[in-house]
């Protein structure tokens, strides 16, 4: 799960990372009077969205007075934001963070990520921050420093020192930096993160070290030991996706019009690819799981049909341990429970497939059957086009 900047900063605070004072977070429907300012300003107003490039898109503003800050925050709420990372889609700004602005002198990039090949965390840093790591890798690859981490020891003192020397951290904040780097790795391990990023980490004109932005991606598999995270909403998931999750179905909404129901994540991905190859576009990724019981299939139908774009449904199930005849009964029973209203194409393969196909064809329900995934995809594309 990806956390918003202020949610990440709340975790950073527990690890003592140096940050500017946060005035507050404004949500849709909140009055800007809720924001209690103290201090001199200036203040910075930041749209809380899960995409980089906010500044250029108008999602970061500076205010010199509390009144201006309130006004800007109010305006930013509900704003539609398109950045270079949103693939042309607009994100609605639902929350805005207001905090003290920093007088940034230098920007550094610092993150901890999972090195999948090594199976261990790695610290990635660059003396030049502010842009994304992908851009950095393109423009200044020679500045990127990687430090592998032993998960049982964390970042060692000498590694933190080496990192500080590499990044040319000034003597006055050298110790503070090494402590910060060690804390960030500690946070990564203790909080079961998949990614922790500070971009930028600033050195102010007065020589102070300040965390400007935060990005944390947590591991869903580890939620059982982070109860405080389970209450947080998943900002990335759509309403249908959230609903699917609560009933144990793995669903991701896509742009096309062919609803897909598949058992197994890999086969589900391959099904989307095959639909595309046949000239269509899938409306969703949906893994109905290994069970594929009447109950699961019914739920899956209900979830798929919540998307009004869906013009046909393609079911692709490889019956292994769960035999095809049982799956066919499940599809028939579920079809009776849910008003489907769009063409249904079913491809069954595996154990007892003949019996399964017979159950489908004699069920009295209008089901188009296919003998291969390729045939099924072609039939679904045709059905969607004609509907």
């Amino acid at each position: 799960m990806k956390l918003l900047e202020y949610e990440g900063k709340e975790i950073f605070e527990k690890y003592g990372l140096p940050m500017q004072k946060r005035i507050g977070v404004l949500k849709i429907g909140d009055s800007s009077e809720k924001l209690k300012f103290d201090g001199q300003g200036p203040w910075v107003i930041k749209a809380q969205v899960l995409a980089g490039g906010r500044g250029k898109a108008g999602g970061v503003k500076i205010a010199n007075t509390a009144d201006t800050a309130r006004e800007l925050a109010q305006k930013m709420i509900g704003m539609q934001l398109i950045t270079h990372q949103t693939q042309g889609r607009a994100l609605t700004v639902e929350e805005v963070l207001v905090e003290e602005a920093s007088d940034i002198g230098r920007e550094i990039y610092l993150s901890v990520v999972l090195d999948r090949k090594e199976g261990a965390p790695v610290v990635i840093a660059s003396a030049e921050g502010g842009m994304s790591i992908e851009e950095l890798a393109k423009t200044r690859p020679e500045l990127i420093v990687k430090t592998p981490v032993d998960p049982n020891c964390g970042l060692l003192d000498f590694q933190a020192r080496e990192l500080a020397f590499n990044l040319k951290i000034p003597a006055g904040i050298f110790h503070e930096f090494t402590e910060l780097a060690k804390s960030l790795v500690k946070l990564f391990i203790e909080q079961d993160a998949n990614l922790v990023e500070i971009n930028p980490l600033a050195i102010t004109r007065t020589g102070k070290l300040v965390v400007i932005d935060s990005k944390i991606v947590t591991d869903d598999n580890a939620l059982f030991r982070h109860k405080e995270l389970t209450s947080k909403p998943d900002h990335e998931a759509s309403e249908i996706e959230k609903e699917a999750k609560t009933i144990g179905i793995n669903y991701i909404g896509l742009d096309g019009d062919i609803g897909c129901m598949v058992n197994g994540a890999g086969l589900a991905m391959a099904t989307l690819d095959t639909v595309k190859l046949a000239g269509g576009n899938a409306a969703n990724f949906l893994d109905v799981g290994g069970g594929a019981t009447v109950e699961q299939i019914t739920k899956a139908f209900q979830i798929i049909l919540k998307d009004a774009k869906v013009k046909a449904i393609l079911i692709n199930i490889f019956g292994g341990i769960m035999k095809c005849d049982n799956i066919a009964v499940g599809v028939v029973e579920a079809s009776k429970k849910v008003k489907i209203g769009v063409p249904l194409v079913v491809r069954l393969e595996g154990t007892n497939v003949e019996r399964g196909r017979e159950i489908l064809s004699t069920s009295g329900i209008k089901i188009e059957q296919a003998n291969s995934l390729w045939e099924a995809a072609q039939k679904a594309v045709k059905a969607a086009a004609g509907n």
Binding site: A120, D192, L267, M269, T274, G290, T351, S372
Partner: protein, 302 residues
């Protein structure tokens, strides 16, 4: 010969007495696999499915000669079971469990590396995988046994049902399998494509390999490098996730395109450059392999 498992493999099932463990162990026994022990702390001394249950993996290994662990333990405890199996001297550890925290696997991986550096030769398969089967000899996993046939094609895959699909197509085209290995869909896992390809390359029964990849990570690119430099056997491949949106996890924890890393295009290009036959349409993997191999392989009956 085959890889990882054969008719003499003796399996200890961790979590034998649980519902998943019970169900799938029964299927493995029916297939003819030798399950010699169950491991469930607190249930030592009892018997389940006619198999003796032990409190610890060490007792299971010492008293029944078990050399393979098959793990069905729930996610919060599965990493510990892997380490227990390793400590007990199991040579092959197959972890089926889905949903193990990545950090737990990071710690497992660190310890296994150290044990192997000390001279142990422990192979971990998974987690979040369907397991391993050597058709006609031994099944240690959750795959439907009957779709497989003994033969000469080795299969390695990051996905479950996608593997069954490939196996089924091969079987229907008269091509049996030497061993089928599901390495799993997690970002941090035991053996990877390269480790498996090496075993297939050195296995006399295996004459060709089918490799089923997916988006995320760089395992396919690493495999391509190995194939180009070291493999003499033909390799066929399909990579799932061409149409997956970037930044979203497609069911498997490891199936995600992050920034410019782990894209479908990069994997396919690397594999093609290495001389691998890459099919774009999954429905054609059996046909593609058959077209190239029919002349050299003796067909098996479906």
């Amino acid at each position: 010969m085959s890889i990882l498992l054969n008719k003499d493999s003796k399996i200890a099932v961790h979590g034998l007495t649980g519902s998943q463990g019970s169900f799938h162990a029964r299927q493995c026994l029916d297939y003819g696999s030798k399950i010699t022990a169950g491991v469930t702390p607190g249930k030592g001394g009892t018997e389940h499915l006619g198999v003796p249950v032990f409190n610890t993996a060490r007792e299971a290994a010492e008293q029944t000669g078990a050399n393979v662990s098959l793990i069905f333990v729930p996610p919060p405890y599965a990493a510990d079971s892997i380490l227990e199996a390793a400590d007990a001297g199991m040579q092959v550890i197959i972890c089926i469990t889905e949903g193990i925290p990545v950090m737990d696997m990071v710690k497992v991986k660190t310890r296994l590396k150290r044990l192997n550096a000390e001279g142990k030769n422990i192979i971990l398969v998974g987690p979040n995988c369907p397991g391993v089967i050597t058709p006609g000899e031994c099944k240690a996993g959750i795959m439907p046994g009957y779709i497989h046939k003994k033969g000469a094609v080795g299969i390695v895959s990051r996905s479950g049902t996608l593997t069954y699909e490939a196996v089924w197509q091969l079987t229907c085209h008269g091509m049996g399998q030497s061993t089928v290995v599901g390495i799993g869909g997690d970002p941090v896992q035991g053996m990877n494509f390269v480790d498996t390809l090496k075993l297939f390359q050195h296995d006399r029964q295996t004459k060709a390999v089918v490799m089923i990849g997916e988006i995320g990570g760089s395992a396919e690119e690493d495999a391509a490098r190995y194939i180009k430099e070291c493999m003499t056997k033909p390799v066929f491949s399909f990579v799932a996730g061409k149409t997956a949106p970037p930044g979203r996890r497609m069911g498997h924890a490891g199936a995600i395109v992050e920034g410019n890393a782990g894209t479908h295009a990069s994997k396919v290009e690397a594999l093609k450059t290495a001389g691998v036959t890459v099919v774009e349409n999954l429905s054609e993997i059996g046909k593609a392999a058959a077209a190239k191999l029919k002349a050299t392989l003796k067909p098996v009956k479906k």
